[in-house]
């Protein structure tokens, strides 16, 4: 289907001169984007930026089945544009963001309110959706939560125990990430990229480094791409294991909860054997990697990994063998496949709705062009499916690592980069452990960032969590929330 698109095609981790990106008057641009979304394209990113005397919109589409991305933009305009959201709900949060950042109004947007703008020490949440009725009550949770977790606000409309609607209001974590990137890269940019979402440091830092490399027109050395692939799968192992443990804890199944908490730390320590930091800080740098994984170190890492994989398999076996756990997960917090497509879900949450959606498979870049992992899919869309997909991905990432660690490519891990191309747009997608991390950079005439847009997978998936609660008992919120385990700061930027 991508063959006939008027959008400019580009593969993942590549760039295109700004002048070569097809450009329409804004109404036609929205119509063209809607047309592509109707034909099955997915909105990877959608944002606005200053252009000429007004603003322009840019859409990055993903044609997953065709393994290609596509990009298009509007002419400079001001004021308003027709909303995509009416027909394509996956655009809803992007349009709210555009409205908030650039004062461009998506006309017809059904729920236009701020995303992260603040006033008087708190985000401007605006009016919440309310269900009226004598039996209806409202439950407000957050921003500060009961555990050690990031802040966000959840507003439930309930009839008795049953949740009729959940609205999620974020913005508490807004640190001014994108605002600071204009005119960059700056001194702090690299460390900011590592902390977009700190538990997905490897994914975001890889995306950022790859964007810089495609703007500079020089790939990282093969050995660095291999090492980035290793780090990405270690990150996935650690977080998925933590999630399985947390889910076990939330249904009172303590053996797996206790074991996974420890094993998660073991996986983080494996990342620390490569670079000294448990989250991979300082490992991914522009032009390659900041540390090498020498053969002795790789052997040590592989031996430890084998032990941890056996541990996590055991902890998972207890968990999946217990009928009490399975019964608690089955049929809880369902997102239907059609809903998942409609709202543009990504990552394990989308794969748990039966969608075959994985950047490593659909849009392979870096090391994943040479080494593949099978996509883990489960059809039922419930908490069970989201846990199951994680379990499967733990096995597959483990197998991948055990194999890849024995066959490193030779060569340097880092090479200097030439300057960044001016007037160019670069896109990189990386399959982080939560799903698709999308970084888009547009440079000005001196090769500095005119605009840098970060889309964390959570930005796509928060709506999925809200939908999963519909018709569910409010007491199921904790396991539904854990089964998604989305990033607040990745969304709030």
């Amino acid at each position: 289907m991508s063959a006939s698109t008027p959008f400019a095609l580009l593969p993942n981790a590549s760039s295109l001169p700004w002048a070569e990106i097809p450009c329409w008057a804004v109404d036609d641009f929205i119509a063209a984007t809607a047309e592509e979304l109707s034909r099955g394209a997915r909105l990877g990113s959608f944002f606005g930026m200053p252009e000429g005397r007004g603003m322009c919109l840019v859409a990055v589409l993903a044609f997953d089945a065709d393994n290609t991305l596509a990009v298009g933009r509007s002419h400079s305009f001001s004021g308003h544009f027709p909303s995509l959201t009416i027909h394509h709900p996956q655009a809803h949060l992007f349009e709210r963001e555009i409205w908030e950042q650039l004062a461009l109004t998506p006309v017809g947007h059904p729920w236009l309110k701020p995303v992260r703008k603040g006033r008087d020490g708190a985000p401007v949440n605006g009016e919440f959706f309310r269900v009226d009725g004598r039996e209806v009550h409202e439950v407000a949770v957050g921003p500060v939560h009961a555990g050690i977790i990031e802040p966000g606000h959840f507003r439930f409309q309930c009839a008795g125990e049953e949740v009729l609607h959940l609205e999620i209001a974020l913005g508490y974590q807004h640190r001014g990430m994108e605002e600071a990137l204009a005119g960059g890269p700056h001194r702090a940019t690299h460390s900011q990229m590592e902390t977009v979402s700190g538990d997905a440091t490897v994914a975001h830092a890889t995306a950022y480094a790859t964007v810089l490399e495609s703007l500079a027109g020089k790939e990282a050395p093969l050995r660095a791409q291999w090492l980035r692939g290793i780090a990405l799968e270690l990150e996935r192992l650690a977080n998925h294991t933590g999630d399985i443990g947390a889910l076990a804890g939330d249904v009172g199944f303590l053996p797996s909860n206790a074991a996974c908490g420890k094993i998660r730390g073991d996986f983080l320590n494996l990342t620390a054997t490569i670079c000294g930091n448990r989250f991979g800080r300082g490992l991914m740098i522009a032009g390659g990697c900041g540390h090498d994984l020498e053969s002795e170190r790789a052997t040590k890492l592989r031996d430890s990994l084998k032990i941890s994989m056996a541990d996590v398999e055991q902890a998972g076996a207890w968990f999946w063998d217990a009928a009490s756990v399975r019964a608690r997960f089955e049929g809880t917090g369902i997102v239907f496949p059609a809903q998942a497509v409609e709202i543009g879900m990504v990552g394990p949450a989308a794969r748990a709705c039966g969608l075959v959606r994985d950047v490593r498979y659909d849009h392979p870049a870096g090391w994943f062009r040479f080494a593949q992992l099978p996509v883990a899919v489960w059809p039922s869309g419930d908490v069970f499916a989201r846990a199951r997909v994680r379990s499967l991905e733990i096995q597959r990432s483990g197998d991948f690592l055990l194999e890849q660690l024995t066959t490193p490519p030779d060569g340097p891990v880092c090479e200097g980069l030439p300057g960044l191309a001016p007037e160019t747009l670069a896109v990189t997608l990386v399959e982080g452990w939560r799903g698709e991390v999308c970084h888009v950079a547009v440079t000005d005439d001196s090769g500095r960032f005119r605009r840098y847009k970060i889309t964390d997978p959570s930005f796509h998936n928060w709506t999925g969590l809200a939908l999963s609660l519909r018709g569910t008992a409010i007491s199921d919120f904790p396991i539904c929330n854990k089964s998604f385990n989305l990033s607040y700061c990745g969304s709030d930027l």
């Binding site: 708190a122 460390s191 700190g198």
Partner: protein
């Protein structure tokens, strides 16, 4: 069979909680580097090689003065260590980094080559909190890394509960706050309300470069540059994120629970 399997496996694994602090501390990864040390007397005249490489502007050198490194702002990337031609800035490999006063993290002046480790709470507070400390954690712009490495202290490997330290689900039940993140403007109200809801006497612990000084986000209009711009802080634990061992050592140091 299921129960039998579980019990057998559990017995095989034995006690998984580390011996620390009675036994030796777990070994930091060899590339971790630990705390930094600054010996400004080794600096070449007017050399400023370390200054521009620091992502958070933690290293400064004013003309005619010795180099100064703020470990509160430091994200421990060690770029300054690599850039220094005279080995004036070095890694000590020491996991201990918690301090009581912000100025104890400033390195470089004569006699202040290393950070000045925290002293315990006074006798009265130690009597109150020494064997039972309940903390409310507030993430105020934290990236989930400091949160994760605090959370890990609750797992069986670290078992924070054996020291009587516990994270609680309400500020009303807490003796203090443990804050992560640069304190975003959008969390200011929630943080103040949480602090106000904690009964007196109370303590505040800032964990990570963000909570101490804004970290990589220092100077952004959307953040306050750390928790002490809003609240009095009793313990600073540097790192990006601090290693769980560093956090635990800091908490035990504050409560005077480390063996002398």
């Amino acid at each position: 069979m299921f129960i039998l399997d579980t019990i057998t496996h559990r017995l095989k694994r034995g006690c998984e909680t580390m011996a620390y602090p009675q036994g030796p501390a777990p070994v930091l990864p060899d590339r971790h580097g630990g705390a930094l040390k600054v010996d400004a007397s080794l600096c070449a005249d007017s050399c400023t090689a370390c200054v521009p490489v620091c992502p958070t502007e933690a290293v400064i050198r004013q003309a005619g003065k010795p180099v100064s490194l703020d470990l509160g702002r430091c994200i421990f990337c060690a770029a300054c260590v690599k850039a220094c031609p005279t080995k004036a800035i070095t890694q000590t490999g020491d996991h201990r980094m918690a301090v009581r006063r912000r100025e104890d993290l400033m390195l470089g002046a004569p006699g202040e080559e290393e950070l000045r480790l925290a002293k315990a709470l006074d006798a009265k507070l130690r009597k109150l909190f020494g064997r039972s400390l309940r903390l409310r954690q507030v993430s105020a712009g934290g990236c989930a890394a400091c949160e994760a490495d605090t959370n890990v202290l609750g797992t069986i490997g670290w078992d924070l509960g054996r020291f009587g330290i516990q994270f609680v689900a309400s500020p009303r039940h807490a003796d203090g706050l443990l804050i992560t993140g640069p304190v975003t403007k959008n969390m200011e109200l929630a943080l103040r309300k949480t602090y106000d809801a904690v009964p007196e006497p109370k303590i505040v612990i800032a964990v990570g470069a963000c909570a101490i000084a804004g970290g990589p986000f220092v100077g952004h209009a959307e953040v306050n540059n750390g928790a002490d711009s809003l609240l009095p802080v009793d313990l600073y634990i540097p790192g990006c994120p601090p290693h769980p061992l560093t956090i635990l050592e800091g908490l035990l140091r504050l409560l005077d629970r480390l063996d002398k």
